[in-house]
């Protein structure tokens, strides 16, 4: 059974149809890239998976390990192992990064009927990961993302992912706004989290990110559905030909 199955998904945002019968299957341990032109519905897919309000599913279903998640609140989906790395991580004034991480981790564990993490175990987990990502203790004490640079915000997303250990991570344009050095740090952080137990959906407009996070499969989206799937070489092909062919095809 696939870890994630998106079946004929139709989604509207403010009466505008964005996803148009999207079907997608992600295997356990698989890293799938989703590419596509602006407006093809990539970020909408990410938000619908995470459970954001105002996204109206008019048809279809999303199954995580065979169970429909569409009726679940965002926190319930997170507890079930779903994680969204935001394209634009928000600033949370007054909530220290450490407090945020601990609250999130323990809330998930509680929802799953697991015991809370002890403080030393939690600290150890955060320290190890933050060191790899170049996040220092000072950043962890500061309010979540407040005053962080674009690169710091993206690194903080990967830190959260590492601490929360999701089974399915959706990375929404994690490469946007990053220079090449930051891109390397973030990609290494993501690669370290690759495991047979964890699947990832890497959403990106550009092929560049996929040089660093090499996908198992590539799906191309246009006009709200998957129009082509292939191996990692499909990304290179797209780099050469562009997205115009798919726009025409879908039209």
């Amino acid at each position: 059974m696939a870890l994630l199955e998106v079946k004929n998904l139709h989604v509207e945002v403010e009466d505008k149809k964005i996803l148009n019968g999207l079907t997608l299957s992600i295997e356990k341990g698989q890293v799938a890239a989703i590419m596509g032109p602006n407006g093809s519905g990539k970020s909408t897919l990410a938000y619908v998976l995470a459970g954001k309000d105002n996204y109206k599913v008019t048809d279809g279903d999303v199954l995580l390990e065979g169970e429909s998640i569409l009726g679940m609140a965002p926190d319930q989906r997170a507890a079930k192992g779903l994680f969204l790395a935001f394209q634009y991580p928000v600033e949370v004034p007054g909530v220290a990064t450490m407090t945020f991480l601990r609250t999130a981790l323990n809330a998930q564990r509680k929802a799953r009927g697991e015991s809370e993490f002890s403080t030393p175990d939690f600290m150890k987990r955060v320290r190890e990961t933050s060191a790899h990502l170049g996040i220092d203790a000072e950043m962890l004490r500061r309010a979540v993302n407040v005053g962080f640079s674009g690169g710091e915000k993206k690194r903080n997303e990967i830190l959260q992912m590492a601490v929360l250990e999701p089974r399915l991570a959706v990375l929404d344009e994690t490469d946007s706004g990053l220079d090449i050095d930051a891109l390397k740090v973030v990609s290494e952080g993501v690669n370290r989290l690759r495991s047979p137990q964890r699947s990832m959906i890497v959403i990106t407009h550009y092929q560049r990110l996929l040089n660093y996070i090499v996908p198992d499969v590539v799906h191309v989206m246009a006009k709200g559905k998957v129009v082509k799937s292939g191996g990692k070489e499909l990304a290179l092909e797209l780099e050469a030909t562009g997205y115009a062919q798919f726009s025409d095809e879908a039209a």
Partner: protein
Amino acid sequence: MTAELRTIKTAAEQGLAAAYAAARDKLPGKDTALRDAAFKRFDARGLPHRRVEEWKYTDLRVLMRDAKPLAGPAGAKPKGGIPTILTGVDADVIAVVNGRYESSWSDSNAHDPGLTIDELFKFLSENPGYRLSHVPGSDDTALSLNTAFMSGGVALRVKGKIAKPIHIAHVFTGDAAAAMYPRVVVIIEPGAQVTLIESFIGPEGLDYQVNSALELTIGDKAHVDHIKIGCDGGAALRVSTLGVSAAGKANYNDFAFTLGGAVVRNQTFVRFGGEGAQALLGGASLLKGRQHVDNTLVINHAARGCTSRERFKSVLDGESHGIFQGKIIVEQHAQKTDAKMMTRALLLSDEAEADNKPELEIFADDVQCGHGATVGALDEGLKFYLMSRGIPEKEAEALLVQAFIDEVLEEIAHEGVRRALMFAALKWLGSRS
């Protein structure tokens, strides 16, 4: 008959007149003329109402339905001590029970030698030179009522540095609703330093009434932190007037924390009389149900080079109503004034209401003055971010509200008080769901 044509008096106004006539000769102190003059001032105007600009949002003709009888004697101190949210704060408690100083309820042991405590009327008779209501705000109608009815209180004089906070605990005890009119006089000598806590507490379910007044005179270079904690019972009506006169280079920090009461008005009048004085006035109100809480401030920069900051936040749930009125006056000679105010209200329900009224009256030309006000609901984007990490909705809301309110609570210098109030805010949030 006076020229003021107010033919219809409210039940409360009639009740107050009857209460004054009955109590006039029994009230403590010798200065009946002072009381008479104050009552006459009140009687001419009646209770403040919505057409009185300063009371626009707190119409006492509507909100105060009747005049309760004056509160009786205190009785014995409760075995568990005076209830307080200041757990773990080591302070000297001065108890003002049912509007009168109760030494038997107070901490009498080992006061700092720099602190002198007297019963109010003892102080007034021994210090005939002290003129009540010399602090700003003296023209206010609610203060006039306090002056007419004041039933007791304390006078404190502070010299040097007092290490332990002084906690004036206003307590109402009684089985039936009553009215209390405590008056507190505090004189801070030049260069002195003190943390002064005032708290208001009373039983749930009784619609008792409090009209309190504190007049605070701060000497040159003195440093005063004043924290006012409103934990009145849910049916109580309280009006508290605070008049502060600050001398040169004085440093005054005021914080008003309000959780309780049905109708609460904290009105604060500060006058900078000497150069280089500073004041930071902050506040946090956490309201639910049908609570109505009005924080009104008037800062008068009457000397050059003074700095004032006002930072108020309110969290409004249910059908509660939060009001902030802040007026900054800069007199013509008060050049180099630096005055800023900020107020933010967070609405947790569609039925809650926030009113903000900033006013600037600037007569000097070389000043920096500014104000900002925001009213809004919790940011849905922030909430989604937290929930997407696995934090349930109520917990996410609590975390965001706590962060919102902690930002002003963090300005309280005394660590124990700050922590106790943060904990009280957390408890309030926990009681929401």
